[in-house]
Symmetry: C2
Subunit: 506 residues, 2 copies
């Protein structure tokens, strides 16, 4: 990619290139409307050497564009607070809506390569992250995103000259960081690693190397790459990916058929166990906070199965500074304009915190599947995408637990009727609940598929029998405390060992 890069003339003289750039810039301005109409989100990721002029280039690209239809996001200096999340989160956070451009001033390549060369992550974690980047790029493509990857290249000598010039001026010397100086010194290692990263991530979109030693030429080449990609994408129409055949370590065993709905707990025992487990959980919460272990607990289940009361018993012993209950309703218009996992990525817990999701990303393969809110390709692809999402979480060290709160149709009916007949509970039951109830068989099938396809070793499903709600509460508390105890004992859970260890010393 860049290891053997040679600057070369493109046969255009200065005037012709200027004229062509002017024309392409106009094309780009027009494409803002084209992608709006085609509902395509476009990401332009600009990577490159320190001091190569990335900021300037972005300015030249956007200077005629309408600010309502694009945004610029800079990742050069990752704030420490973002280090408390899986590394892909910051990129998901800024995903553009349909019909919008996003320009990224450095993206996932710099993030991964930089951390590796600065020895913040070891080799195996580096390789894992390269794979995560590929997964991200595939997911973006499959969900209709258009991605343009640019690399702004300058030679080692050119970089040195620019650093020197910046340092000589009092108002620009702050722009030269220790990292820049270090990159200059380690230029050859960076060259090799950038090149390797680019080769390893060319499957879902080509890299365009720009000649950073000529500002005009780099602009022209960038405009060519962007407008060309967008034009092809607009005429092809929005892409919808098929499910991949990637395999996951499935557990495969949980099924609604195996649930023993007669399970109960005797009231005296319930009280005793509740107290004991809540006390234990409060202690564990202190420990995971101190050891910075993130925890994600997912609740799904039949309407009126007792999710709410179950969640409240789990949340009660937790310190409110360290957890959130996140209720998930239908997506807002803003959320519908983006990757369906966007609204979950943005709500992940910081390391050391607990997020309890009251309904989750599994809506994709249940209500959205059944009501036709997404295409068949979309929900069929989602099982794998969700497994990948949860893998990112657990690789980062997150404890992920998923509960299906289970009852039979007769129990649900009794609870619906009880709600209907109790004035202060009537708001809890809506026409939609009755409509969903009529679709019990379809949901049952969808739930079964979900349990089979997404119960992984790293993020298992638990079916929680909840005809006796008290029994169900004790079960979830038991599973959560067991899992947290295990995580605390292992101290650092799965992947990112070095990074997490470093963090917990702080």
């Amino acid at each position: 990619m860049i290891l053997d890069y040679k600057r070369k003339a493109d046969g255009l003289d200065k005037a012709a290139r200027k004229e062509e750039s002017r024309r392409l810039r106009e094309v780009l301005v027009g494409q803002q409307q084209a992608i709006r109409e085609a509902k395509l989100p476009v990401i332009v990721m600009l990577e490159g050497w320190d001091c190569a002029g990335k900021g300037n280039l972005i300015n030249e690209l956007i200077c005629e564009m309408d600010p309502r239809f694009f945004s610029v996001k800079s990742f050069e200096r990752t704030p420490e607070s973002e280090e408390r999340y899986p590394f892909l989160k910051k990129f998901f956070d800024v995903l553009p809506a349909n019909g919008k451009f996003l320009f990224m001033d450095t993206g996932w390549m710099e993030d991964v390569v930089g951390k590796y060369l600065r020895r913040e992550i070891p080799k195996d974690e580096y390789e894992r992250r390269v794979e995560s980047c590929n997964t991200l790029e595939r997911q973006l493509r499959d969900n209709g995103y258009v991605l343009v990857k640019l690399f702004l290249h300058i030679s080692r000598g050119e970089q040195l000259e620019r650093i020197t010039a910046l340092r000589e001026n009092r108002d620009t010397q702050w722009r030269v960081s220790g990292d820049d100086l270090w990159q200059q010194q380690e230029y050859n290692r960076f060259l090799k690693t950038y090149d390797g990263f680019m080769s390893a991530t060319s499957e879902y979109g080509p890299w365009h190397v720009l000649d950073g030693e000529s500002r005009k030429k780099a602009l022209y080449d960038a405009l060519l790459a962007i407008t060309g990609t967008v034009e092809r994408a607009v005429s092809a129409g929005r892409y919808v990916g098929k499910a991949t055949d990637r395999e996951f370590p499935l557990l495969g065993h949980p099924s609604q058929r195996d649930a023993d709905l007669t399970a109960t707990i005797e009231p005296g025992k319930y009280k005793e166990e509740l107290e004991r487990l809540q006390k234990k959980l409060a202690n564990l919460h202190n420990q995971i906070y101190r050891k910075k272990i993130p925890v994600v607990i997912c609740y799904e289940g039949w309407d009126a199965a007792g999710k709410g009361g179950n969640i409240r018993r789990l949340a009660y012993p937790l310190d409110p500074r360290g957890f959130d209950v996140i209720p998930i309703a239908s997506p807002t218009p803003d959320e519908l304009q983006r990757h369906y996992l966007w609204r979950f990525w943005t709500k992940l817990p910081r390391s050391g915190h607990v997020a309890i999701f009251d309904r989750t990303w599994y809506g994709r393969v249940m209500v959205e599947r059944i009501e036709g809110f997404c295409s068949e390709d979309d929900w069929k692809r989602a099982y794998g995408e969700i497994n990948e999402f949860e893998k990112e979480l657990t690789d980062w060290g997150t404890v992920v637990l998923k509960f299906w709160i289970h009852v039979d149709p007769q129990t649900q009916l009794e609870r619906f009727e009880a709600r209907q007949n109790t004035p202060e509970k009537q708001w809890k039951i809506t026409d939609e609940d009755w409509r969903n109830r009529e679709k019990w068989p379809q949901y049952e099938e969808a739930v079964e598929d979900m349990l089979q396809k997404t119960s992984t070793e790293y993020a298992p499903w638990y079916i929680i029998e909840s005809v006796d709600k008290k029994y169900a509460r004790i079960r979830t508390l038991q599973i959560v405390t067991d899992a947290l105890e295990k995580a605390v004992e292992e101290n650092v859970v799965r992947g990112v060992r070095s990074h997490r260890k470093k963090e917990s010393k702080k």
Copy 2:
């Protein structure tokens, strides 16, 4: 308030208090529906001593509530990134939507008192912030918020005992911070200052002091205060405040009548000036970045007056890592559920950054006034509220500049027709533009009111004559560069001197 606090019995025995607390908790659960129907947002702010048990109390309060209708936000440890904004921003950021409860684990009292006693802000800045808190509380009340202020009180001896107990356990010792130890040592100074703050901020809602030495009693008293306040608010209905008679340092002179719309610039001169001023601006941007001066530039103006092109010329020389253009459209459903300034507070620039607003909070006194999207009291009150908002910005050191891009009706008509007749520009002209045009006289009056009532010494309006768009661009560039030059020379602008000085050393 708490200086002369004496613990006292309330005549309830243990069993009676338990029973009453149970009943009140049920009332609170029911009030979730009541505030939903009344569209009331409720903020419960829990202040109190370190180790008084604030987290526990909040948990006891929320344990039966439905997570869809409340959230908890902890402010005990302000992340450094939040220190780069005006201190009220973090509270505006978390304002609950209509019909929702927000529980705050410490609020603006701890923030202001803590910073003052730790000598992070001087006495005069402390006093200014106390006034800002009063302003905030009034604005919340006037915009329909219900605020419950609680203080969880324990004695110095009790605090010492609790700190000691926490430090003896390995899993809880991290909970005791240096700040806690220091508060214990400085208990009497804190006592006096808390008390003073509470006395100074009792105008827009009473403080409720809770007996933190008895967990059960504190819970009962908190439930009494919350449910009582909410009950009164629900039966009174949503409050809409009148305009206050607070005075602001108005400049009073700008008027559309004084604009000289024949002003032009000769093309050669334009090119030369554009280049010169953009270069100057690029330099100044480096300096304000280094000196951490925040900048807010507001654009309002007639449709087709040339706002977009003007903004692009201003943005072109700026480093994309240090600025954002923020286009403001109609409020989203989420935004409509909150204080109308919420969506602007949440988009403020960090210190050292530039935010260019393409349309602004002045929509309240223009389109919302004219189209009846808010009540007469709402928009009449808004002039003062906006002046207060901009005062918060400038007290923090922000440079605030406001441009009214001005043309006459005839010029607008010509531009509308030109857009209509140019295929690639047709999307820029909508039926709504034509409808707005018919209301020119009403808008003219509203603009005149706005210019007269909100052009303050600290945040002046500039009328930019834009029949010759090139002239307009040079004018705004000139005003911006002049203002930034002045700000850079003064080094630290207005208020918060000590704090900002400290920051810029980093």
